[in-house]
Symmetry: C2
Subunit: 80 residues, 2 copies
Amino acid sequence: MKAIVTIMLKNGVLDPQGKAIGHALNNLGFDQVGEVRMGKVIELELTETDAANAKEAAEEMARKLLANTVIESFKVEIVG
Amino acid sequence: MKAIVTIMLKNGVLDPQGKAIGHALNNLGFDQVGEVRMGKVIELELTETDAANAKEAAEEMARKLLANTVIESFKVEIVG
């Protein structure tokens, strides 16, 4: 199965990378762009065949290694 | 509306960051992890109210600034 872990900075945590992208888009003439937030996405190929187990394992990986839960939140999606 | 742009390296492009994450997970005892690919996700707050227009605008932004289409592919999702 494939697990997709999406990691974003928590609300309230300053996101300078997102701000820079927002400014660059505005400067390119994209006036409709307001707030921009940037995050990471990690696709994990798992040998696990049970979706519930795969989700649990991926969440544990996110908590232990992938995300810094002090400033980041994550969500796990199982596909395939 | 909110547009979510997900940018991944194209298949066949080496992803050392993903490889490093995979090794780290294996070392932590997560043996079920195979290939790992890492990408970026960018959430754009748009003043656009029409979903089709918003998607088109976000795709143009991805092509012009957000993604390096030589080595990266992107997908745009409109939410809310």
